[in-house]
């Protein structure tokens, strides 16, 4: 039972990394239409090559669970994540396009996350594998409108409303996003269920500049369906030019002790 729950937790972490990675970066630019703003944000989701060292803090009912990890990504299609904290050391995930594998050191085996497992939400529903594997650009899935401008954490932001395009079925029917006018980083995002009920809010608490690029380095994801439940994702270190070999994103690498 513990092993199963622990495995679920790890799935959530990886899913969160993939999602937050999509929210995290931005470059300054001028944009006028909602579509252009969103395209800028979408472009930032494609961060090319990077190696992160990050901390994930999951809080529920006053209890914090801290996970440390190292992640190597290449665009939105490939990612390799390894947990480094004592309890989860050796647990690894590999994402290639829309496929996801997990290496669980206790079992010394690689498991492909597929079928109905992809629909499983972590701890119930926070982030599912499907969400993590979604690599469609937001402009392809949503009709976007500009609802105004508002400050968030001292940053003047565009307020964008995203509604799923007919025939497109993204995970969330509607989203509301506050995008920094200066940095094109999503400072805040509300995610809504089909019913219109707001289920999650992601808030950027820290943005740092790396060369010409702005990056959200601390993002808090509040699960509104659970009281006192949130996940904090902190990027401690990032290298935009890591050494990536053909083996980096391979099952062979995933299965290495």
């Amino acid at each position: 039972m513990w092993m199963k729950r622990n495995m679920y937790m790890k799935r959530f972490f990886i899913a969160t990394i993939f999602l937050v990675g999509a929210l995290a970066t931005g470059i300054p630019a001028q944009a006028v239409t909602p579509l252009e703003i969103m395209e800028k944000v979408d472009q930032q989701a494609y961060i090319g090559k990077a190696r992160f060292e990050a901390t994930l803090v999951m809080s529920s009912r006053g209890r914090d669970v801290v996970k440390e990890m190292v992640a190597v990504t290449e665009g939105s299609s490939r990612a390799f994540v390894e947990f480094t904290n004592a309890r989860d050391r050796g647990t690894k995930y590999l994402k290639i396009d829309k496929e996801l594998w997990m290496y669980f050191p206790d079992a010394e085996d690689i498991v492909k996350i597929s079928g109905h497992m992809l629909r499983q939400g972590m701890m119930g529903s926070d982030v599912s594998y499907e969400e993590a594997l979604e690599s469609n650009r937001l402009v392809d899935s949503y009709d976007i409108s500009l609802a105004g401008e508002e400050p968030v954490n001292g940053e003047q932001c565009y307020v964008l409303e995203l509604k799923a395009k007919p025939g497109k079925n993204p995970a969330y029917a509607t989203r509301k996003m506050w995008v920094s006018k200066e940095k094109y980083v999503s400072m805040k995002e509300q995610l809504f269920a089909q019913s219109g009920k707001m289920v999650k809010v992601a808030t950027t608490e820290e943005v740092r500049q790396f060369g010409g690029r702005y990056l959200a380095t601390k993002v808090v994801m509040d699960n509104l369906l659970k009281k006192d439940s949130k996940t904090v994702f902190i990027i401690k270190k990032i290298d935009f030019n890591p050494a990536i070999t053909p083996e980096t994103f391979s099952l062979k690498q995933l299965g290495k002790h």
Binding site: R61, G115, H116, R119, G121, M123, G124, S125, E130, A164, N169, P170, A171, Y172, A173, L191, A193, Q194, S195, K197, V199, L225, K226, K227
Partner: protein, 420 residues
């Protein structure tokens, strides 16, 4: 010759009466074994019957019609294989109703969801049901122990009492049901608890949430479509026939559907039921051993105790065959008495089991035992089992009594008379 047999019968009866305590103990040993068999058979048959009823009344119905391919993936609760049968006047339902053996038809949407009480989440099977048509097929509303029945169009839910206790919900409380729509979009709706159910089916009590069909269809993006059509038949004996006939008639009418009987849909329960038959066989074997040990023990003791008596019998002219016959008659008498006592006790016990039953919750609490049953289990009347138990006792006693009685009869009369 008849006089001779009567003589031996009288002598055997006298012997049985003479050694009352030993006779009584042996009869009791045989009776207890046979009685246990009768009682266990009654309870297991009762569990079997009630489990089947629970599955039919609360889970599968007699026969289920679903979209082609649904049956193979039913455990995943897919929403991409549905039927246009959300209303009673749909063409498919009308055609099913035209079969005179079908007494009730309803539609349901079954889907995977998470029950969220604001603090915790619990995975459940959610069922959208038609509040008016569902009672034609299922007995869910008979087990509402608090609150009321569902109504069309309301954002209300009935859930198992134990599930409600687990999630700390009571009538009037709200919770959030989290799910994916048919288009795989995240969905979350708030529902008010309007009814609590305490049924004899553990799955209903601990892992299911019921909401109105129209609400479920709406929030899942399945307007007019359902995952299953459930049928109640006039009698259970018609299940296989109706399933077969519907498969052929619906196919020939152009409906591409799966038609499954409750037996098809509840494979795991039936596997347990088949396992039970093996268990019954083992139990019968144990009873045989108990009875045999009792008889052998009794006859051996009688032999040792009565060695001098055997010597006397041989001295007055009885041969080996006469003595074996005498001992076999005594064993048969024990079997006869044991059988009568066992059947008598079995009938008395079964009167209680059939009418009052045994409350399992006091013994095992909410522990799941693999059967779709909980609460009180009842026995059933099975006269064949009683006759079999009686005949078994009657046959086994002389069978196992033969060897020690033959040994006793072979003893030399002089040696036997000297026996201390």
């Amino acid at each position: 010759m008849p006089r001779q047999i009567n003589y031996y019968v009288r002598l055997a009866l006298k012997n049985l009466a003479r050694h009352r305590r030993r006779t009584l103990l042996t009869v009791l040993a045989v009776a207890v074994g046979l009685w246990a068999f009768i009682v266990m058979d009654s309870l297991l048959a009762g569990v079997d019957r009630d489990s089947g009823r629970n599955v039919i009344d609360l889970e599968t119905s007699h026969v289920q019609v679903s979209a082609a391919g649904y049956f193979a993936h039913r455990d995943e609760l897919p929403l991409d294989k549905t039927l246009a049968a959300g209303t009673a006047d749909s063409k498919l339902i009308k055609m099913i109703r035209s079969d005179s053996r079908v007494s009730g038809v309803t539609s349901r949407i079954r889907f995977a969801a998470q029950l969220n009480n604001g603090t915790d989440e619990f995975p459940v099977v959610a069922v959208g049901l038609d509040p008016h048509r569902d009672p034609e097929v299922f007995t869910l509303t008979d087990y509402i122990v608090a609150g009321r029945k569902l109504q069309n169009g309301e954002y209300g839910a009935s859930l198992g009492k134990k599930l409600a206790e687990l999630m700390e919900l009571k009538i009037g409380d709200s919770f959030t049901l989290v799910m994916r729509t048919a288009a795989n979009t995240f969905q979350a709706i708030d529902l008010e608890v309007v009814g609590l159910v305490n049924s004899p089916h553990p799955m209903v009590n601990t892992g299911m949430v019921f909401l109105p069909l129209d609400v479920a269809a709406n929030v899942l993006g399945l307007d007019g479509r359902v995952t299953e059509i459930d049928l109640r038949l006039g009698g259970e004996e018609a299940v296989d026939r109706v399933t077969k006939d519907l498969r052929s008639s619906l196919k020939s009418s152009g409906f591409n559907v799966d038609v499954s009987s409750w037996k098809d849909l509840s494979g795991s329960f039936l596997a347990i039921s088949q396992g039970k038959r093996l268990y019954n066989g083992i139990f019968l074997g144990l009873v045989m051993v108990i009875a045999a040990v009792g008889i052998v023990n009794s006859v051996l003791l009688a032999t040792i105790e009565r060695t001098r008596e055997i010597g006397t019998l041989k001295a007055i002219g009885m041969n080996e065959g006469d003595i074996v016959r005498l001992f076999l008659l005594e064993s048969t008498g024990i079997g006869l008495l044991g059988g009568i006592v066992a059947v008598g006790l079995g009938i008395a016990t079964n009167l209680y089991l059939v009418n009052v039953g045994i409350d399992l919750t006091s013994m095992i609490g909410d522990m799941e035992v693999g059967y779709p049953i909980n609460g009180v289990i009842y026995g059933v009347w099975n006269w064949t089992t009683m006759v079999v138990a009686f005949l078994f006792g009657l046959a086994i006693c002389p069978l196992v009594g033969w060897w020690p009685s033959r040994n006793a009869a072979r003893k030399d009369p002089v040696e036997a008379l000297r026996h201390a």
